[in-house]
């Protein structure tokens, strides 16, 4: 997984000089590419934070809550890793069938780069054509106040920094799944997760609340459990072993009935 993340981050193109600095350090701690889930799961984002969407309208993050929210933190002036992250998400979402975007969950991309503007956002969105047909349930936004950025990211353990040498931001390529009240419920990583992982993470973020019509999908979701080592969902073997073992009693009963009847028939013939 680490290599996927690294690739994702290093795919960044050299950015503009305005970021300044020229410190020749590039030994990156790989832990920066991950969110320390042990520490931050359950943490609440600042839902009151003021954001500005692509049309220039102000809104609050809380407006997008009330249902699970997939939160992506990226920056718009790059067309490297950030668009890889967003593109990957949009490609995965296109294959998500059990749950509907906008109805069951929202998606929100916010830039953590204080230099991003409506223009860079527009260019970025243009670049990311696939999100066009998502009827507004995927919002692209920037922070209204740049002082909000760092505390917002820190609250959910999202580390990022500008690497002058690599002339790019280093940051986790993370999809953060928030509950309807804005708590971090699950983190998946770009290029490491499939549509099913995303569906399951949305179920997780839904905290067991599901519509009756969803019961079959919900039941299927119980067959998987999140694997912290791999950063995705894996099948829950004990559940299958447990359910499978239910057949043992029925089988042994059937076998013994057949055996008994056969033996008794044998005796009657004698």
């Amino acid at each position: 997984m680490a290599s996927a993340l690294l690739g994702c981050a290093l795919a960044a193109f050299p950015a503009k000089a305005q970021y300044g600095g020229n410190v020749p350090v590039s030994d990156i701690d790989p832990s920066i590419f991950q969110i320390d889930e042990k520490k931050y799961l359950g943490a609440k984002v600042n839902a009151d934070v003021d954001l500005i969407d692509a049309q220039g309208n102000a809104f609050k993050l809380a407006d997008k809550l009330g249902k699970p929210l997939i939160l992506v933190l990226s920056y718009y002036s790059c067309d490297g890793s950030c668009s890889v992250i967003n593109k990957d998400l949009s490609a995965q979402l296109a294959d998500v069938t059990n749950i509907a975007m906008g109805k069951d969950f929202n998606v929100l991309t916010i830039s953590f780069d204080e230099h991003d503007t409506l223009d860079t956002l527009g260019v970025f969105k243009e670049h990311l054509k696939t999100t066009e047909n998502m009827n507004g349930s995927w919002t692209f936004a920037t922070f209204k106040n740049k002082d909000d950025i760092k505390p917002f990211a820190d609250a959910i353990g999202f580390n990022f920094f500008w690497s002058p040498q690599d002339r790019t931001f280093f940051h986790p390529g993370a999809f953060m799944f928030l509950t309807s009240e804005g708590r971090l419920a699950r983190v998946l990583y770009a290029l490491n997760s499939g549509p099913q992982d995303i569906t399951l993470a949305v179920y997780d973020a839904n905290e067991g609340n599901f519509k009756p019509s969803d019961i079959a999908h919900y039941a299927v979701s119980l067959c998987y459990s999140y694997n912290y080592a791999e950063g995705k969902y894996t099948i829950s073997i004990p559940l299958f072993v447990g359910v499978g073992s239910l057949s043992l009693g029925v089988t042994s009963f059937t076998v013994s009935v057949l055996w008994f009847r056969r033996r008794r028939r044998g005796r009657k013939v004698l």
Binding site: K38, L41, G42, A43, K44, R183, Y226, Y228
Partner: protein, 232 residues
């Protein structure tokens, strides 16, 4: 009869009357531990009535129907089909009615326990073998849980090793603390006092001594304490 019943429920019932004395001071929000005591009284009343009625019936029958000679036979009539069905359905309906009554009340109190108000202060709890650690919103980590008076609090809890359980007998609540999972407890500390948390899920040798102090203090005192903890 009613007097007897309330006396009995009082006998089995609460001792911590003090929590009710402070109810008036609260912050207008539900206080789960007070709801707990109310529900406890209700349930104990309910089961005491059933228990006493059934016990009296049994004692009467055990005395009244003692055989006078070893050859005597019971004289109960065989139930007709209609009687059999009635004796199953009517009691079943009565039991179910009581079950649903209790379930509804239990559900209401459950909401008091689980509905966290918007302005609740977040404190992170981490369980280790064999202590709990508390992290406040400003990142300060402490070994003592200090809560500001009348400030709703939500504890977000996880464990670093095995399963523990965050038991607060003084707040009438506990919830397991598990590796890889997040659980929460909502507290509404409307009473200034000193109490404790104890581990309530078997976790090894020092399970019985896994405890931390819990204090509810006035807001000013809390602020001073937190500032000192942050520096210390």
């Amino acid at each position: 009869m009613r007097k007897l019943l309330s006396a009995m429920s009082g006998l089995v019932g609460t001792v911590l009357l003090s929590s009710q004395a402070f109810a008036a001071e609260g912050n207008g929000l539900a206080v789960p531990n007070q709801s707990w005591e109310r529900l406890w009284h209700e349930v104990i009343m309910d089961i005491t009535v059933i228990g006493v009625i059934m016990a009296i019936l049994a004692v009467i029958m055990l005395i009244k129907y003692k055989a006078s000679s070893p050859d005597q036979l019971g004289t109960a009539k065989k139930l007709t089909t209609v009687q059999s069905i009635a004796w199953a359905l009517i009691p079943a309906s009565v039991f179910m009615a009581d079950d649903f009554f209790l379930a509804a009340n239990g559900w209401t109190v459950w909401n008091d326990y689980r509905r966290v108000p918007e302005n609740a202060m977040e404190i992170k709890v981490t369980g280790y073998q064999w202590y709990f650690e508390f992290t406040y919103e400003d990142g300060t980590t402490t070994s003592e849980l200090v809560l500001p008076h009348n400030q709703p609090v939500v504890l977000r809890m996880t464990s670093e090793d095995v399963i523990h359980s965050f038991g607060l007998p003084g707040f009438r609540v506990k919830e397991d603390v598990m590796p890889g999972r997040i659980t929460y407890i909502y507290l509404n500390p409307v009473e200034i006092r000193e109490t404790f948390v104890q581990c309530a899920e078997f976790c090894g040798n020092d399970h019985s001594v896994m405890t931390n102090a819990v204090r509810v203090v006035p807001q000013a005192e809390f602020d001073a304490w937190l500032a000192e903890a942050a520096n210390g």
